[in-house]
Symmetry: C2
Amino acid sequence: MTDLPNDPIERLIALLARTPGMGRRSARRAVLKMLMRPQETMLPLAEALTEAARAVRPCETCGNLDAQSPCGICRDPQRDRHLVCVVEGVADLWALERAHAHRGLYHVLGGVLSPLAGIGPEDLAVGPLLTRIAAGGVEEVIIALPATVDGTATAHYLTDRLRPAGIAVTRLAQGVPLGGALDVLDEGTLAAALRARRPA
Amino acid sequence: MTDLPNDPIERLIALLARTPGMGRRSARRAVLKMLMRPQETMLPLAEALTEAARAVRPCETCGNLDAQSPCGICRDPQRDRHLVCVVEGVADLWALERAHAHRGLYHVLGGVLSPLAGIGPEDLAVGPLLTRIAAGGVEEVIIALPATVDGTATAHYLTDRLRPAGIAVTRLAQGVPLGGALDVLDEGTLAAALRARRPA
């Protein structure tokens, strides 16, 4: 690592400040607090970091991060193996898991297509997805990519590539978020919700 | 530690979420980000935590936290040993150091007197301060305690206890903070600033 101070306290503050969501000020306050009870706070955290860095790897099947591969979800006999949900990244997979709304498996794409950023299908787990579908057993692929320009384009691309497999390909519904006030919603979401209106 | 999950990822999130300033949500996001490059992010942080927990201890002279005792400030031949600034805790010492405004040494009290919380002089580093002054060489004690009821009472108490030593005892000025708009300041600060007015 570059530019790290040698002093143990300053070094720890600098490293903790690199944690997403932490600034220098909050890192300093956290270190000071932890130094009051280092054995109870710092050592368990150090051990958990070391253990996670050692044990956690991407699942060879779906790309989820877990201490085992295939991951806990892919191994779970309770999950519906006919249903595969395609997500951009592990963060989205975890978010769906927290919602307890998907009973099938996942496939982490590792990004979305982006001609501007030079990200093509070969940079994403598109090939492994097609191989997985070709192996049989999957009846529906749910595309749960972000509702951005790149995400939508990627969804179209995947739909085209999956068509020959002759399975159902679906996408997440778009509309008004639960509890969402209409007057603060962007026009695109409002228009999409109106177009996709359903009988009351 | 109680109630910690066994799964390495969940365990790390739970421990990181205990860090002051971090919530569960930010801990989860941070762990996910770090898991993308565990060798570069998690292992250095784990080592820094372990090293800090091992090396850092309170300075036997002033109570500052440092990897050496006496601490770097107490050892610094450039600091003015005639001047000792009394602070409530190490956080205040660090804040004063960042201001580069104090060229003397420090004394960390470890709290302030609080009859309600049952904190008396024997719970704070009052004895060590008097011993330090009695050893000679200190010409001025600057009391930099918080401007709260307990902080002010503690300042009065220390002033009384230090009087027999026959040295100067001073306190931080109270007034309008730099860049502070008058209309958002509390009345107490405004009144104090008015009482302590100086020739323009």
